[in-house]
Amino acid sequence: MKSLRALLVTYAGVMPSMLMLVGFLVLPLAIILVFSFLTPGPYGGVEPQVSVAAYVKLFFQKDLYGDLTFNSSVLEIAFRSVKIAAISVLGCVLLGAPVAYYIAQQPKRRRNTLLLLITIPFWTNLLIRTYSWIIILRDNGLVNNFLISANLTEAPVKLLYTEGSVVIGLVYTYVPFMILPIYAALERLDAGLIEAARDLYASKWRSVTSVVIPLAAPGFTAGSILVFIPCLGTFVAPELLGGGKHLMLGSLVQMQFAAGRNWPYGSALAMMIMAVVLVCLTIFALNARKTGGGMQH
């Protein structure tokens, strides 16, 4: 039998990290799960009274007579968040996949330099990156100045404070998360397989759609997850580029703690985001197992 001391020695190295992670991440998450089932206090905080009102409030509202009627506003915001996150993922794929494929074809030194160039904007401040798009997209911004001076339009085109500008900001922010996993998958790709396809009279494009893309599928899945999760809970892009008009889940959650002061409701909303994330991660895990099994043949 192992003594307690031996156990402590064995796990001493990982203990500090685990204590931090459990104490300041897992425990807080558990607490908001509990709080989402409690009653809101008058000035923020909670009263120790079990209630599912927060979850009911996600879908229903009390009308004038105190009856519950279906309220779709939260669902609409959730739907908009999922939609904008999904479009951003698609944008990242369309923009990132060709770049990843190009980089994978370069000599090693050049590959490392290009990868570094892709990650550098990622390490600059998120607010700054988003702010720079305001300068470009606003009514007297660079794009509109150009359009007007080229006589393509008389009045400025509304680019900022649209769902489109939010998507641009998100794609700009998270496209490295898409490129890196796709690149990792493509780098390992055996060029002989493409050669075989070409020998069998597949066109260049056919060899890409039938050989390269299926083989790089795990990279596409990983990239999509990495982009989708932060996009879903995004706060900065809709606040700055959406002008607060295109409310997304992140802002809705934040509001409950800033002005709304309804902690259980905010917690329930946070749990809703976590639920969507968990569904995504599960799909990812199942997918990874399936493709992992398929690779062995």
């Binding site: 190295g13 990982v14 807080p28 060709p98 770049v99 401040n125 060029a191 260049k204 959650v253 905010g266």
Partner: protein, 265 residues
């Protein structure tokens, strides 16, 4: 070009698409930097070179305090996160008797899998429920947690690429465990540790949402200051501050990547 023609993977237009992509990636930052040197208030019409906005930024007290806070938080969070991440990475790479290594490894990456807004509200509720009011201390604790994976990954990569025989040789030559760690393992892992610490520092310096939720009066950080400013209007002063931050990030990340590349060779 000739070499590309022979590469079986070559596709027409691929290099053009990549060039366009890099244009998309760097134009916004370039615009920001260029107009930080503009003589007029405009951030879109060029009217001559000037360092006025840098002067304004450097003499602005609010910016100075916010920068101080940001640097204090990032330094302490990076040191804490790197220390505990190093200890965890060493244990996971070298401890033969430990069970459940895969689970511990997954746990180290946990902060990456939770949307920041959820972490932010969870931490806010947690601190106010237990009544912890350390001002900057609260923010440092929260930053330490989400910096852990960024510090851990480069150290882990370095440990995995290292030759374990060197440590065994030291042990054969009668170095005890601590001497081996001190004089063989740690010096060899050092590039990974420095690289991890730098990434943790940048991640903490850039954090916005978690800090926004936790910050009380007096603990404004640079991103919070920028946010409050950008919401009311755009001034080249923010461009100047942004340019300095961009330059700083570029230097730190390049050095970190350089150290990481030495790891690979």
């Amino acid at each position: 070009m000739k070499k590309n023609d022979r590469d079986i993977r070559w596709l027409p237009g691929l290099s053009w698409l990549t060039a366009l992509f890099f244009l998309f990636l760097y134009t916004p930052l370039l615009v920001l930097v260029v107009f930080s040197f503009n003589a007029s208030r405009s951030t879109t019409v060029w009217s001559g070179f000037s360092l006025e906005w840098y002067h304004k930024a450097f003499t602005n007290d609010a910016i100075r305090v916010a920068t101080q806070n940001s640097v204090i938080i990032a330094t302490l969070a990076a040191i804490l996160a790197t220390t505990i991440a190093t200890s965890a990475a060493l244990a996971l790479a070298r401890n033969k008797r430990m069970k459940g290594k895969q689970a511990f490894h997954g746990a180290m990456l946990l902060p990456l899998m939770i949307p920041e807004i959820v972490t932010a509200v969870a931490t806010l509720i947690f601190f106010s429920t237990i009544g912890l009011g350390l001002g900057l201390g609260n923010i440092i604790l929260a930053h330490t947690v989400f910096c852990i994976p960024f510090a851990y990954l480069p150290i882990k990569a370095r440990l995995e690429s290292m030759d374990e025989n060197l440590e065994m040789a030291a042990r054969d030559l009668y170095a005890d465990k601590w001497a081996t760690l001190r004089f063989v393992t740690l010096p060899l892992v050092m590039p990974g540790i420095i690289s991890g610490a730098m990434l943790a520092f940048i991640i903490s310096l850039d954090d916005f949402i978690i800090t926004l939720m936790l910050a009380q009066a007096g603990s404004t950080t640079l991103p919070i200051y920028i946010y409050s400013f950008v919401r009311v209007g755009i001034t080249p002063e923010i461009n100047a501050v942004s340019t300095i931050l961009i330059g700083f990030s570029v230097i730190v990340v390049s050095v970190s990547a350089f150290l990481g590349r030495k790891t690979a060779s």
